[in-house]
Symmetry: C2
Subunit: 294 residues, 2 copies
């Protein structure tokens, strides 16, 4: 089987050709400019490859309601040229094969649950902490959705009493994303995250906010595994800090083995697929679409 995957991000599109095992044989990275130009390059990359299915993990928000007239569209995105772009429509006008279409983070969550850190588990929460904060959730093997896909990056968290940074979310100021995504780190401390590596208080505070969010996600979703990816999580010293704070804040209320002293380091983990979670997720979406057409 030959399948195509597109990890459609706000900065770059990563396209890959792979198989049903999630193995990638060929890939390309394309800068995200405007839909016409970017899609032309995508088309060019796949030209001549006889795809059996194609999957897209897209930046959002996107419309995933199949009963909606704008299913598959990018919605009120800050990226003006992409707002109201009929992404799924554009794909299906090029390829007459099964198409998987979901958010980038749902795709990554799916890939992690099939081939990655949550392999074999029916439930997995994937969170990226990068330019924004986004999350995808696999429940009983499928992407969690209701009215639409989750928007967990914008949950309200308790302010740290010593943190007076106002937050940078244009909608909520100090939601999780406004306080803990890469740009918030940079604005609060005056340097990019990567340049703050040795400054302990930066990562203590970052772990404080991320653990506030994780505690709420654990209580709400009861995920079997939590995978934290994205640029900010390259600071691996965050993992033990977050694990400790999650335990401290839950204070023994949940008696699951996964949360025990012994096991928590295997519960809150980096992506098993590393930087390929998104692209492999797009392949996984394609596989799902193919199987559902059988």
């Amino acid at each position: 089987m030959i399948i195509g995957g597109i990890e459609a991000g706000g900065t770059k599109f990563v396209c890959g050709i792979g198989n049903e095992k999630g193995e990638i044989t060929n890939r390309i990275s394309i800068p995200t400019t405007n839909p016409t130009e970017t899609m032309d390059q995508v088309k060019h990359f796949f030209r001549g490859t006889p795809l059996d299915a194609i999957g897209v993990g897209s930046f959002g928000p996107i419309d995933l309601n199949r009963n909606s007239g704008t299913y598959g569209y990018i919605k009120n995105s800050p990226k003006v040229e992409w707002k109201d772009f009929d992404f799924a429509g554009a794909i299906s006008s090029i390829w007459n094969v099964p198409i998987g279409f979901d958010t980038d983070v749902n795709a990554a969550a799916l890939a992690e649950s099939i081939w990655g850190a949550a392999e074999g588990l029916s439930s997995c929460l994937y969170i990226t902490i990068g330019t924004g904060i986004g999350a995808g959730m696999i429940v009983q093997g499928s992407m969690l959705s209701g009215i639409s896909h989750p928007e967990m990056g914008h949950i309200r968290v308790r302010r740290h009493p010593k943190d007076h940074y106002e937050g940078c979310c244009p909608y909520h100021h100090d939601c999780l994303e406004g306080l803990a995504a890469g740009p918030a780190l940079e604005e609060r401390w005056g340097k990019k995250g990567v340049a703050l590596k040795g400054v302990d208080q930066v990562w203590e505070l970052e772990a404080y906010y991320l653990s506030e969010a994780l505690v709420n996600f654990i209580l709400t979703l009861s995920p079997m595994k939590i995978v934290l990816g994205g640029g900010v999580m390259k600071q691996h010293q965050l993992f033990p800090l977050i694990q400790k704070m999650v335990q401290y804040k839950l204070n023994g209320y949940l008696s699951f083995n996964e949360l025990s002293q012994e096991n928590i380091a295997q519960y809150i983990v980096p992506p098993g697929l590393g930087d390929d979670a998104g692209l492999k997720g797009a392949l996984a979406l394609a596989m799902r679409a193919y199987q559902s057409k059988l």
Copy 2:
């Protein structure tokens, strides 16, 4: 079809006999004492009725992991005599029929999504605000579960800057339940909730905390309907306050029709099944168990 339902609460067990339409023909309320005594009365109520299936919506926490050695047990409950009680086992030793077993709030969420306020929707969040705060979530027609059932009552919320009540959760002090369940109201204001009816600031503060939680649940779960039940929600003046605060806090970030000025009063609603949501939920669990055995 004749089905049995047990709404097993910490104060009382409500047992009912009904049919596949959720119609209840006969019911009884039994005080919750100890397992032997209470289960004897349950058995006595159903004696002579040829049940096709039985469902139990239980107070928790309960073990819902089918691979666990203690599946169907009540876990570290504050009700000492019920801790480690093999509830599902006790039921199956009495009735040799399909058994549905889940939390009381998952049961209520299921009933609301089949016969109640979320009829016809594949997604529904049911929250009870009573002696405690608990929530059940239907996703794509099934009960959300991962490691276990959710424990949403214990999420962390932002303190209201003018509220200095320390909270009464034995694990977390000022989690949602510790700040906003019935006992917190009573301890903070020195009177039972029902006696505070006319005091506006009580319900403003209550709506503040409930809206903090709902915003996070909406962003995390994207439910198609939110049903709020339990004793505290008998104060119906809470609904418009909560609806307004949820909109205010989301600040237009989510552009769903459900959240619009026009529609929000149909989005955050009281139980369509009134006080029968729990018992009908137990019937619905029985139906599910019956169908899955066909």
